[in-house]
Structure formats: structure tokens, C-alpha cells
Amino acid sequence: MRWKGSASALAAVFMVPASAFAMAINSDVGLTPFKGQWIYRSQLRYTKKADDPTPRDRKLEVFAMPQTLVYGFTEKASVILTIPFLSKELDATTDGIRASRGDAGLGDLLLLSKYRVYARDYPQATSRFSIVAGTDLPTGQSGDADARGKLPRDLQLGSGSADPLVGSAYTWQSLDDEWDASLTYTFNTTANKFEFGDVLTYTVAYQRRIWPVRLPARGLYAQWNLVLEANGQWEQKAKDHARRIDNTGGHLLFLSPGIQVATKHVVAEASIQLPVLQHLNGNQVELDFTLVGSIRVTF
């Protein structure tokens, strides 16, 4: 998961490289699709932020629909393209007047390459480590305006800049449970003399099969998993004309329980991200929660 924008933490790009394996819901994983495999993943994410320490009483809602396509060139190398559709709305009080502003449309594309550098297979279990590198592309509008003028950065759909990203991911998976851990770092660059702060994300996720309680002796089955994730994000302060902006950046940590069902062709999952730590710089609107629903299809 990745948030773009400091005070907002809501231009959520939520680029989750899908995998052939039943990975965690809000994390990158080290597993890759098989050679020639396509995976399509559609997510719906709703984020609400309403805890504003300022008199403006800002309330923000974001609907994000990242559409992800994954292709395995080999069993080790894959590419991941994510196209996010975003809808943002901000209610705020300015000079005693309550008003709503917002925008909707295509966000910034994310193009990632992923390479599995380590894999060790065991009977009914596997352990894998991958590295990830890529960039997002400034396909989202970064200069949209409404009747009141140019929208604030938080409400823009894109950053306006191409931002490289590197990362790594580890997975241990067995028939009973799975551990995932991932780390990414995004080098946000400058566009229109504005630069979002660099972003470090980290995730540790655990999932446990709850159904079937006893595995059938033969064949495949639909598997239900309970998922618990810790998703963290640390973000530098943004810069405007090379000057740091105080009310940007900080450290967020979510605890994210979820449920997942995996079959041979489809994985469906739902999760809620609840903030357990919000060390935000300056006066920023705190995040209430994010709801996540997702479906993955492989072919």
C-alpha cells in the first residue's frame, strides 16, 4: 500500500502487486505468477478522514478503485500495471462557510517489475523473496480546478511527477498459514516546483486457514483465511519551491483484520484498516479507517 500526499494520506494509490498466491490483502508479497500467467485484480477502497484539529473541520472521503494487471514473463520475473480510478471529496469550513470540493478520474499509473531472487519449496509449503522496482507515471491530473480555483494538492488525482520505487517482499506459505513481509521506498520527485516527501512503507501480515478445518484427502477446495496485517507508512515532509511544508508527512501504522477466500481461479477478500498510530506533522486531518474489498482472477 502507498499513500501519496502528506496531509492527505488519501490520494491513496494502493498499488498492491497481485500474486498468483493467496497473499495478504494490503501488502506486497514475494511470490510471483507462473510463466505466461495473467492475473487481474480489482480493488475498491473507501477511506474516511474526519478528525481535524483545526477550526476548518475538514472531512475527506476517498473512493479508490485500483485495477491491477500482472503478467509472468518467467516463473521469476513479472510486471505489474496498476491503473487507479479515484474520487475525492473534501468538506471544509472557510471564513465561516461550509463548502465541498472534489475531483474524480484517473490517478497515476504504477508500473512495477518484480523478480524472485530466492525460492525454497518444501512439501506443501514454500518460502520466497522478491525484489521490486518501478515507477509511477503522472497520468492523473495535477492541476485540476473548480469554480473556486485550483484544487488543493490533497484533492488532485495525480502528483504530476514520475516517482521511482524500490522494494522487497518475503513470503512463507503453507497449507495452514502464511506470513508476508514487505518494504518499499518511493523517491518522490518534483513537479511544478512541488515535491511530495519520500515514502517508506512496511507490512507484516499473517493469515490462517479457518475453513476447511480438516483438508479434504483429495482434490482442490475453496479455502477461507483470516488475515491480520500491520501496515505502516512513514513519509517525509513535502516541499513547495524547495521549502519544507510543516503540515505534511509523518508516521502512520494500521492494524488491518480481514477475511479472504481463495479458489483455483478467484481470490475474494475484505479488510478494514484501523489506525493504531498517527504521528502526523503539524495540523493534519487524522484518518478514521479504510475499508477494502478486492477480487483477483487468474487466467
Binding site: A20, F21, A22, L31, T32, P33, F34, K35, G36, Q37, T74, E75, A119, D121, Y122, P123, Q124, A125, T126, Q173, S174, L175, E178, L215, P216, A217, R218, G219, L220, Y221, A222, Q223, A262, T263, K264, H265, V266, V267, R296, T298
Partner: protein, 182 residues
């Protein structure tokens, strides 16, 4: 005249349509695949085994980490392609068990079975003697049985686990030998 033609057609139908199908030469293929640990992972294995290794009727049993499959009648089994298919699916092949129907032949001085269909050869080991030496080793009883089958060109069904050795054809560590009537 019309009745005679009908009889000929019926007899032809019995000869063509009523003939029993030829049994598969390599059958009962069971693959132990390591790393297979979720239902969503199984599709890749299924597809690669079909496309790359030419297997069919694939059944994946997650709990055992085992995959059952068959070959079309007359098709040979290419162990290298099979291994590659599993690797491309992102897994590791641990073992192959199968049954071969064929005749006993000599291959480089070793006894082997040549499958009835495409002649794929498997050197023959005796499971009880697998640690007795570096080459294919057979117990005296099995050696005699196989040499007898070699002389008579009798049809055997041999079941066991497939092994590979550098520079040699694949080999079967035999678990069962069944003499078949032609």
C-alpha cells in the same frame, strides 16, 4: 441384396467401433510437487502440465502435494519437459511415479523397459537393491524374470518411481512388475 449390405455394415461396425481401446503405455502418473500450498496456486501447475508436458486428466491433491495425470495413448513422457513445466509453474518436482507397459530390452548393457507406444526407455532398478551399487542393480529373482521377458518379448507393466542419472536414460525403481497377456 439389401440385407447382405446391412450385414456387412454391421460387421464392419463391430470391427471398427467394437474394438477395445489400446491401453495407455505410460499411465498412472503421480507427481509429488513441492511448494504447492494454496488453491489459487494450482491453476499454473495445471496449465503448464497440459501445455508444456502434454499431460491430460490432471488432478491436483493439495493435501498430499500430489498431482495425478495421464498421457494420451501413444505419447511418450519427456521427463525434461515435465520438470521444466513444473519449474515454470513456480514449483519443484520431487518425484514421479508411473506405470509403463512395454517390453524388456537392453540399453547400454542394462535391462530397460521400452514403452509399447513410442518406445520411451526406462532403465530398471530394484527398489530393494537401490543402495547396492552406483548403477542399475537388480535382485537375482527380478533379473531372471526380466531376462525371461526379454527373450520372449513378453509384455510387462512395470510400476515405480522415476530416477534420472546424468548420461543415462531415465530409470524406474521398480515397485511392481506384472506380466500381461497380449
Amino acid at each position: 441384396m439389401r440385407n447382405g449390405a446391412a450385414i456387412v455394415l454391421v460387421m464392419l461396425g463391430l470391427v471398427l467401433g467394437g474394438s477395445s481401446p489400446v491401453a495407455a503405455e505410460i499411465e498412472g502418473i503421480r507427481l509429488e510437487v513441492d511448494g504447492l500450498s494454496c488453491p489459487f496456486c494450482a491453476l499454473g501447475l495445471d496449465k503448464r502440465l497440459k501445455e508444456r508436458a502434454g499431460l491430460e486428466q490432471i488432478q491436483i491433491h493439495l493435501k498430499q502435494g500430489e498431482t495425478e495425470a495421464s498421457l494420451p495413448t501413444g505419447e511418450g513422457l519427456d521427463i525434461g519437459r515435465l520438470r521444466l513445466a513444473i519449474q515454470e509453474a513456480g514449483f519443484t518436482l520431487r518425484s514421479i511415479r508411473l506405470s509403463v507397459t512395454g517390453t524388456v530390452v537392453r540399453d547400454g548393457g542394462y535391462l530397460a523397459v521400452a514403452s509399447r507406444g513410442d518406445g520411451t526407455r526406462f532403465l530398471l532398478f530394484d527398489a530393494e537393491h537401490q543402495e547396492a551399487g552406483s548403477g542399475p542393480v537388480l535382485s537375482e529373482r527380478l533379473q531372471r524374470q526380466l531376462e525371461q521377458a526379454e527373450r520372449t518379448a513378453g509384455l510387462l507393466r512395470i510400476s515405480g518411481t522415476v530416477h534420472e542419472h546424468a548420461g543415462l536414460p531415465p530409470a524406474i525403481m521398480m515397485e511392481a512388475v506384472e506380466e500381461l497377456s497380449e
